[in-house]
């Protein structure tokens, strides 16, 4: 019998994998954005599992909101990426050091 903890385990694994991806692909900005999408997917799976097993349809509404925010985030992120590439001809994260942070 599949329980709530099974779904939570799967999303924990996906979340950790995407954290690992953020650390090992720290050069390419596009791959970083894809890892963030994967992270949001894991969180949404958590929300849906809780919504179903705790009898709360509000959790699914939050997944709806997360999808919209993720769409906005990736649209603006990719626009900034294209803009950066036009000026510097590279999307290497190592060269994103204009603020000297």
């Amino acid at each position: 019998m599949i329980g709530l903890s099974h779904y939570l385990s799967v999303s924990a694994i996906i979340f950790s994998i995407s954290i690992l991806g953020l650390m090992i692909n720290h050069r390419n900005l596009i791959t970083l954005l894809m890892c963030i999408e994967l992270m949001l997917l894991a969180v949404s799976t958590n929300f849906i599992a809780f919504a179903r097993y705790l009898h709360q349809p509000a959790g699914e509404v939050f997944v709806f909101l997360i999808l919209a925010v993720a769409a906005a985030e990736s649209a603006i992120g990719l626009a900034i990426l294209v803009l950066w590439f036009r000026q510097h001809h590279s999307v290497d994260v190592e060269q994103l050091n204009r603020l000297k942070g």
């Binding site: 799967v10 650390m23 050069r27 596009i30 349809p57 997944v63 919209a68 649209a75 626009a79």
Partner: protein, 202 residues
């Protein structure tokens, strides 16, 4: 005894984990994007198992249909730049250690959570229950304000994306000249000529 549903769950989630591993380990960005599409489809099937039909189809429409297409367009606009191999990176063992630490922490919390013991059974749904209706009912009543705000957020994001990438009109761009169009009269455009028809000659 393993039921059919359990079989579905285990095969889908193992493919989800495998494809998301492929997303982070594959070096070419186009292949990573395609593996990301595969993991979105697998996650949509997982959500279908959780009886969230509406969101699972929305995930496929929005992510596979729109966002991943956007990603692929941007990847193909930029030159094919393979990311550095993670095998050569010196920090990789440290990253793996952090990964193991995070995963074990999450599983520890999962094991000792108070929420999990109390509710083992999913909501038993009747045959008249539809997921879309349930979401719509709560979305348009209790969560109407966040719903409106998300619409404004999407509008702002669209305006921002256009403003960021819009480079102004070209000098030689062709376009409408509206006042000329309005001032045009019939006499300027139209000239009536009398041509004898073929029949009158013969």
């Amino acid at each position: 005894m393993i039921s059919l549903l359990d079989c579905f769950f285990y095969s889908i989630s193992s493919m989800l984990v495998a494809s998301s591993l492929a997303v982070i380990l594959v070096r070419h960005p186009v292949r990573a994007a395609l593996f990301l599409v595969l993991s979105f489809v697998m996650a949509a099937m997982l959500w279908m198992l959780l009886e969230a039909e509406f969101l699972s189809l929305v995930l496929i429409f929005v992510y596979v249909g729109a966002i991943m297409t956007l990603f692929l367009f941007v990847i193909m606009m930029l030159p094919a730049e393979e990311s550095l191999s993670w095998k050569k990176w010196r920090g990789f063992p440290f990253a793996l250690l952090l990964f193991a630490l995070l995963l074990s922490l999450l599983f520890y919390m999962l094991k000792h959570s108070l929420l999990l013991g109390a509710s083992a059974s999913p909501a038993d749904t009747t045959s008249t229950y539809t997921n879309t209706q349930a979401i719509g009912h709560i979305l348009y009543t209790q969560y109407a304000l966040p719903f409106e705000m998300i619409g404004i957020l999407l509008l702002v994001a669209m305006v921002a994306a256009i403003m960021l990438t819009f480079r102004g009109r070209r000098v030689d761009a062709k376009g409408q000249c509206i006042n000329k169009q309005v001032r045009a009269s019939k006499q300027d455009q139209l000239k009536l000529v009398n041509i004898p028809s073929e029949g009158e000659k013969g």
